[in-house]
Structure formats: structure tokens, C-alpha cells
Symmetry: C2
Subunit: 281 residues, 2 copies
């Protein structure tokens, strides 16, 4: 069985590093002429999966917008996950779950267990309760060839005070919270190849401000939301991430989805070309 | 319309401060002779709601154990939430969601909007992306008479390095991350009465170790997991929380649920009495 890191590296090589965020916001449903219902979410999401399968290799459904519609939204999500995986896409469930012990293990079982109704290839996870708290889903993900992306440095301004707070004791004493998470994740991966435990680092984050060294990310996949709508340009990716640009899953969402059902394939293709050119230059 | 804080204070006065965690673990389903399926989860949860309605005033379903069963688990959860609320229980959805912008707003809509299929009275939330990132669900919850509990100091040892890290700039410079969250939440509540934005502080947490002052919690509801199974005794609650003991939602879960379908009412009543006596003495 191939690891998640190996699968991700293969998709990067074959289909590039662009990821489509499937974020069926109420305002997007309206713009698409769809009802704000589970049926509307299904229609937008299936079109988005089709467009992604035709152009790129990775999708990231934002689960909050399915949960808004309760169990009916989750039934749609099960379909979307299954169709996307069957189309060969790597599916990252953006759920930002986090807890301890058997509870966080249950989240791993929900999203990363083969045969689970909500099976994805990877999930996002929050380690406010410590990277040590998510050991169980990490172990479970490895056994199943799955992956995780741990929130490290996000790009929203309200996050700065927590994520740049300085750790007082232990192995990462003197590091920022964000750098401590990056360091703990680094230990979980092998430096010689792309690992299976990633981090989330916002595309508008200045790594220096967060005390994060690029060298600590050499074997770590980096999920980078915020391209397009939130201000970062795909053409700037090599400059933003430097030596670890090749590890970045570059997510675009609203800026593509707002082009509507008829425009999405072309818009996604345009973004994929832009990223490919930037990384090749 | 009464605020969540007012409703919580009324339930404290009428029915006490004990909360039953509805955590349908696989091992508990097995101990109850139930299948590890959505149907098994439904049976255990409905019995737990019945027992709670007969003895106490608050329940806290742990959503991870419903999510394990996908949309079928969520359909059961919708039923459990509705039955518990109809029985007059305050229902805290333990979801620990967190995100930014319109995404975290969608979580608020899912769990705290009247008429939503997953409507609860309050939800737990993670502020790894900053208390400022969760302003939208806070605003939404106030308008609907709902509440939130923000993770502050959890009782698992892996959490210490993040939660005691020291903030470097801004209004809470020099505070720990946990104390900064407590301080930001304090500003959101009125000191003169129980507020509607709470915090999660584990029952085995030494507040001094986390730099959290009890005085900053005077108007803040405190959700305290970890009684029973995780080592803290209900009889020690007044000593643990001192002057703010009256703000504590004391959660027991496995230690009650493992008494089985036939023992749960008696066991829950025993715990409620123990807590009432401790708080009265």
C-alpha cells in the first residue's frame, strides 16, 4: 500500500499542485441559481468534482457547508466524497476536528477509515489540545494510507496572538506555537520524501513572523488556503514558499466557483496553468 | 427572549449543575449489548436522554461518536437533539468546531440556528485561529438566545505547551494562551450575571499552572469535562473552582454510561446528589 505522501507526490507530478476548495456557500448557491438546500449543495459540488477531475488532481470539500444542512447535507457529502475518490482525485476533508483520546480517534475513524461512509484521503485537524492529542488518528491514518493536515499558521489576523505565543517548556521551549507544531510534525515525517502528516499554513502568512523555518518543512506537505479570494497570487507561490514550494497544495475556492457552472472548467484550467508556469520558472 | 446565560442559571437553580455526556463509544455499545451502528447509537442515546430528563438538566452529546456512522449517525443525532430539547434539557453539542469567516459562521448556523436540523442550545468551539475568528457565531448565538463554550485550558497533558505559551503582543501580552482566551471571553460577558459565552476548562486543570485567575471567570460559564472517569471527584469541585464553582457545568460521561441501561438513572441520581451536597457544604 502506498502512503498518503507517496500518493500526493504522484498526483503533484501528474496533475499539479492545485486544489479546488468545494465550498458551497449560500451566496454561491444563489449565484448559481440553486436552492440553499442539500439538493443545491449536491448540484454545485458534483459540478465542481467534474470540473476538478477534468483539470486537476485534488479537491477539498469544506464540510461546514454540508453540515449546515444536517444529515441531508451529510448524505450529499458521502456521495461527493465517493464520486471524487472514484474519479481518482485526492480528497481532503476540511473539517478541522480536534479532541483527545477515544474522541479524536472516532474522528479519525469517521474520515480516514476505508469503508467509512465519510471516507476521504486526508482530513484537516486542529491541535489546540497538542499534537500529542492527535496521535491516535495519525496512527490510524498511516495504517490506512491516509493523511492529515494539522493547523499551524493560518492567515487570519485574529490568529496571530495565539499562533506566535512562545512555548515555555519542553522540546520546543522558545519556539512559537506555530513553529512547535511544525517541529512536532517534522518528527512524524521522513525528511527524504514527502511525508503523510502535513500542516496548514495560510498563503498570506509571512513565515518569519511566525518563527517558522522553511528547513523544518522539507518533508512536510503544506496545505495553503487563501489563493485567489484572500489576496495571495498563485504566481507568487514560489516566492512565498521558496525551497518548499514543491510541497504546497495550493487551494483556490470562491475565486473559481464564482465563475458559475458554465465557467468553472475554464477558470480552473486557467488557474492550474498559472500555477504550473510559476513553479516551472 | 432569555439569553443562554439566563437559561443556564435557571437550570442550575432548578436541576443542578450536573451534565451527562452522551458519548456512544464502540466499547459502551458493546457493554450495553448493542450493535456498533447508528441504530445502536440511537438506543444508547435515547436511554441516556430519558435518564437525564428524569434526574438532571443538561446533556452534552459528543458528536464524534455520531459522525463515525456518517449521515445515518447524523440523522440519529438530529432525533437525539430534538428529543432532549423537547424534554427541557439544555443541550450542548460537543463539536469543537473552529474556522474563520463565512465557514465558522456556517458552523454557527448548523448548530445554533432555530429550526436548523442540528439545533442545539450551545456548542463547543476551538479558537486556535483566535477568539476574533469566532465573532460571527458569537453574534449569531446571542441573537438566538444560544451559547458557546470556547476551549481554554483542557486537562490532557499534551495540551500544556500550547495552552501555557506566552502571548507576545496586543491586549493580552504576557498572558498565557489559555488566560488570553479567558480574558477575551470575559469581555464578551457581563460581570453582573452569568454570561452566554463560556469556556472549557478541564476538571483536573490547576488554574494557577495556566495563569488563569478565578476573578476573570466571575461572569463566565465553565464547562468542565473529566469528572468521574478522568480522575476528578465531584466532591472536590468547590475546592477546584473556588469562588466560581457556581458557574461550572460538571460533565460526567463514561462513569455513568458504563452502568448500563438498567443502572443509568440510579447512577446519574447518585452523581447529582453528590454534586449538590458538595456545593451546599
Amino acid at each position: 500500500m502506498r502512503s498518503f505522501g507517496e500518493r500526493l507526490a504522484a498526483v503533484f507530478a501528474d496533475r499539479g499542485q492545485l486544489c479546488l476548495g468545494i465550498d458551497p456557500h449560500a451566496f454561491l448557491l444563489e449565484a448559481w441559481g440553486l436552492p440553499d438546500s442539500a439538493a443545491g449543495v449536491r448540484e454545485l459540488s458534483m459540478r465542481a468534482v467534474d470540473a476538478a477531475a477534468a483539470t486537476i488532481g485534488i479537491v477539498k470539500p469544506q464540510v461546514a457547508f454540508f453540515e449546515r444542512h444536517g444529515s441531508a447535507g451529510y448524505a450529499v457529502l458521502e456521495e461527493v466524497l465517493a464520486v471524487a475518490r472514484a474519479a481518482g482525485l485526492i480528497v481532503i476533508a476540511d473539517v478541522k476536528r480536534g479532541d483527545v483520546g477515544s474522541t479524536v480517534a472516532a474522528y479519525g475513524e469517521a474520515w480516514l477509515t476505508p469503508g467509512s461512509p465519510l471516507e476521504a484521503d486526508a482530513m484537516t485537524i486542529s491541535a489546540y489540545q497538542g499534537v500529542g492529542s492527535i496521535v491516535q488518528p495519525i496512527t490510524l491514518s498511516r495504517a490506512a494510507g491516509k493523511g492529515l493536515f494539522v493547523l499551524a499558521a493560518t492567515s487570519n489576523p485574529e490568529a496571530v496572538s495565539t499562533q506566535t505565543a512562545v512555548i515555555g517548556a519542553g522540546d520546543f521551549a522558545g519556539s512559537t506555537v506555530a513553529a512547535g507544531i511544525v517541529g512536532e510534525v517534522e518528527r512524524l515525517n521522513e525528511a527524504s520524501a514527502l511525508g503523510s502528516v502535513g500542516v496548514v499554513i495560510g498563503s498570506t502568512v509571512n513565515l518569519n513572523d511566525y518563527g517558522v523555518q522553511r528547513s523544518a518543512l522539507s518533508g512536510t506537505p503544506i496545505l495553503a488556503p487563501g489563493f485567489g479570494e484572500q489576496g495571495a497570487l498563485l504566481s507568487d507561490l514560489p516566492q512565498l514558499y521558496g525551497s518548499v514550494s514543491g510541497n504546497v497544495v495550493a487551494n483556490v475556492g470562491r475565486s473559481v466557483l464564482r465563475s458559475g457552472a458554465d465557467g468553472i472548467v475554464a477558470e480552473l484550467g486557467r488557474h492550474a496553468d498559472e500555477l504550473r508556469e510559476a513553479l516551472a520558472s
